[in-house]
């Protein structure tokens, strides 16, 4: 299989879906002439023109609201946030409009749109620019929340998200855009279903549920622990809402141990949700309490050494697995 970068995988998904469906358009800050703050939309303006690749002013609440109105009236907007940190000024439109319209109209109106952009800490951009927003948006019925960790998932899940009839919060990894990985050929049109987890590595020693950037820490930990004879089973939910709880519970029943690894803060969120499901549905199978590896419970500090401490690391995954394995 060919290898492309995460950023290119996203771009291919946008290109293919915009070619396939004339109602799909991209709107946001810097998406057109600048070709995206992270160059995801490179070449799109040249191919599709200003009608469908729309540069907006710095007005997240404005263009998110426009997206909602366009989605309700027959189009499929893709709203790019330069980063998800800036979505907070558009929170009202995402939560009180996009997520509500279908239900509040008794199913008569639909809001098929994708909000997408980079999520999580980058490198030393400090507290206001380092949010992992997954806990905020997963709490909202009416929103799908998707968070791909690999180029293949980025492409296949974005294509499915664009075709989805409900609004999707699509959380890309700010530090993953350069990541290379295997992706099927362009003509394969791979659609990865929403709400289906991926078992990225099989093992019987301990289940590690991880998504986004720390998924890669989990995979690295699995390599290291294999040398010690501990075989991790790494499960990437990929979609945080709906959450593939069956896949997680199935894995825990096999390994009898579970560590949940995520970049969001430890208070609540999908991390806590997964622990809740595991304790209810696999209680009798657990040989140890479930451990979590999360960001520390503080606003992100700026200093490099502090930032490294706050974010989940491979070392912390190793410690957690050893703790639940009593080794």
């Amino acid at each position: 299989m060919r290898e492309i970068r995460y950023r290119e995988a996203l771009r291919e998904a946008l290109m293919e879906e915009m070619e396939r469906d004339g109602t799909v358009f991209l709107m946001g800050e810097e998406v057109g002439h600048y070709e995206g703050a992270y160059k995801v939309s490179q070449g799109l303006l040249a191919q599709f023109g200003e009608q469908r690749v729309i540069d907006t002013p710095i007005a997240e609440a404005g263009f998110a609201g426009i997206g909602v109105g366009a989605a309700m009236t027959g189009l499929r907007p893709i709203i790019e946030f330069m980063t998800w940190n800036f979505s907070f000024v558009a929170f009202d439109q995402i939560i009180s409009n996009a997520a509500k319209i279908h239900q509040m109209s008794g199913g008569k109106l639909t809001c098929p749109m994708v909000f997408r952009g980079p999520n999580g800490a980058a490198k030393q951009v400090a507290a206001q620019h380092s949010h992992s927003v997954d806990p905020f948006y997963t709490n909202i019925p009416g929103l799908y929340v998707v968070m791909p960790a690999t180029p293949r998932d980025a492409k296949g899940l974005l294509k499915t998200s664009i075709r989805n009839d409900d609004p999707v919060v699509f959380l890309e990894g700010e530090t993953l855009y350069n990541l290379k990985g295997e992706v099927p050929e362009e003509d394969e049109d791979e659609l990865i279903p929403l709400g289906v987890a991926r078992v990225a590595r099989e093992g019987d020693g301990c289940t590690v549920v991880a998504w986004g950037r720390p998924f890669h820490n989990a995979m690295e930990a699995a390599e290291i622990l294999a040398k010690d004879g501990i075989e991790l089973e790494v499960v990437d939910p990929r979609t945080l809402r709906p959450l593939d709880t069956d896949a997680i519970v199935r894995s825990v029943k096999k390994t009898n141990r579970c560590v949940v690894v995520h970049e969001h803060w430890p208070y609540g969120g999908p991390g806590a949700e997964i622990v809740d499901v595991v304790q209810r549905e696999a209680f009798d199978y657990l040989d140890a309490p479930v451990e979590r590896v999360a960001a520390w419970d503080v606003p992100m500090p700026y200093a490099s050494n502090l930032e490294e401490l706050v974010l989940p690391t491979t070392e912390r995954v190793l410690e957690a697995v050893r703790a639940v394995s009593y080794r």
Partner: protein, 331 residues
Amino acid sequence: MQPGRAEKRWMYETMLLSRRYEEAIEKIYLEGKQPRFDMAAGPIPGEMHLSNGQEPCAVGVIAHLEAHDTVTATHRPHHQAIAKGVDLKEMTAEIFGKKAGLSGGRGGHMHLLDPRVNFVCSGIIAQGLGPALGAALSRTMQGKPGVAVAFIGEGAVNQGAFHETMNLAALWNLPLIVVVEDNAWGISVSKKDSTAVERNHVRAAAYGIPGHFVPDNDPIAIYDVAGEAIARARRGEGPTLIEIETDRLAGHFMGDAEQYRPEGEKDALFARDPIPRLRDQMLAAGELSAEDVASIDAAVARRIDEAVAFARESPYPEPSDALEHAFHPVT
């Protein structure tokens, strides 16, 4: 632009329907809620924001709209919904929280949504502006005719969403008309205590678009100004801001003691009630006869009776309906 006789009659009849409708709703709303006001009791639960006094804004603007034109309304939407042609029976059932309501009892009176006539509401101040502009963009991108009208109150003008939407509408020259129903009160805070400018239509200058002020809650004057603005939008000449001086004859919501109103204000408002004013003008001009007035009264009463009976007789949603429509069914 002046309304023809039939249009004028429609405006009068629609204003009256809205007024009588709200009078009926007001009575029903109070059933079971007294002597001690209990918002959760009675056949209509929750909050109730009446639009009586503001009917001229709805009819003067919406007289120019087709079903394919979009209207986004506010938490005070009855007059606009009725003028836009939202089904009165289903709207009433929705307000009662019944299964036969527009949204199956999921929306209530602040969230009347009817895609058949492109009418949506939002209970959040200024939230409808972006979606209205989105609908205008969408029609334009799809090469379909249609304008969008965002109704807001004067309080919404102070929200950030107003500025973002106005700037984008002007920048992209889209067919949007923003109608500010200035009833002088944001709940209990007067406009002069919340707003840096005396009149909000002057803000249009900030976006380089036309801004108009219509004084005196006059449906005919509103018709004139709105007609020009909508025709202009249909010609592709871009957005317009219209500020209308109107009156909120009731409190912000039912149960509001209105102690913030100056002495005598309410009497003055009722003395210039726009509905009898238009009726008397039309009678004097020979555009309505006493028989017309009586037959309009009867027709309006009949429609309201039918709508209320429909709502009362409709069943409540099934328990299982609570789980419907948060997401599309997974196929």
